[in-house]
Symmetry: C2
Subunit: 194 residues, 2 copies
């Protein structure tokens, strides 16, 4: 996103200027080049991007947790071809046709939290990313806070996935509230090419 | 989001350490405190958050542009109570019941781009934010890239709005493709409290 890059460039340029400025309040000479921090590293830290969603589902945290932690559950709202869900360390394979992403389960807190780390190479843009589902039981609903974070950049593919994750969060909600989700291959399409 | 804050804190702490470290390659004494850049400013620059979406709509860019730039058009997919749409400088009032946000139109490129800047105080979390719709005509559809950027932080309200903007992008798509959108008060609800 241009805006995002402008902010990062402003940040990097501010940093370099602040570190190398030839004038300061005490008229101290500029520091030698070797003391300039590695701005590449800072830019990398700052530019990680994230998709967030938040829905309220009229159902128990236990039911939602089951839908996030079992093959049978995940098959009801994300893709009907899901395999490998289990405890921490298990690798879940989500197929959308011939192939699809894999995630390793890295954290499980019963009825409260599920965290996955992307596993393997597909899709490339997801390498290094993680997904967190945080469940918060309220009086009349369970709040599901979703985050797909540690993207290298906020590009067109992130924007596509942001919309699609929103659709799948509504599929999860529908699955609990009506008994029927819209998992692949019955998922709602957001563009002509899907 | 904790992760996001961790990244920002890591960034700020890296910056301070790099600027004040007592050792470096040339064994130069640490710079005086006055030469430490203002890390508050850097954190503010780095932490701006953004919602992005991307849908493909089977309709012309001209039709979509009309739905983004006129009261009659905006009323068909975001809120039925929309008033004030016009040229650059006009302020559009989007009511959801008694009140709602206002946006000033800041950029218009016919059939290509629409940009708004948040106007006034409501909701507080949107102050300073901007919205960009970018239209790209393809052979079989028009791609709409949506961004609501310059949020002060990626909090629960951003997550809620991210899901809700996805819903409204699908409403815009439905409006073009079927003739019927789901604007407020007929919008699809994403939690029990709406």
């Amino acid at each position: 996103m241009p805006i995002f890059w402008l902010q990062i460039k402003a940040l990097a340029s501010y940093f370099v200027k602040a570190s190398t400025g030839s004038q300061n309040a005490n008229n101290i000479p500029p520091a030698p080049a070797s003391s300039i921090p590695n701005t590449d590293k800072i830019v990398t830290l700052a530019r990680m991007a994230e998709i967030r969603h938040r829905v309220g589902i009229q159902g128990s945290a236990a039911e939602i947790y089951r839908l996030l932690t079992t093959d049978a559950g995940l098959s009801q709202w994300w893709t009907s071809d899901t395999e490998g869900a289990g405890g921490v360390g298990s690798v879940i394979y989500f197929r959308f046709g011939d192939d699809g992403p894999r995630f390793e389960v890295t954290e499980l807190v019963t009825d409260r939290r599920v965290r996955w780390r992307h596993y393997g190479d597909m899709p490339g843009a997801w390498k290094g990313s993680e997904i967190l589902f945080d469940l918060q039981a309220e009086e009349k609903q369970t709040i599901v806070a979703f985050s797909h974070y540690n993207w290298p950049q906020a590009d067109d593919f992130l924007a596509h996935c942001s919309t699609k994750w929103g659709i799948f969060m509504m599929s999860l909600k529908s699955c609990v509230e009506t008994g029927t989700g819209q998992p692949y291959p019955d998922d709602i399409h957001i563009d002509f090419d899907e």
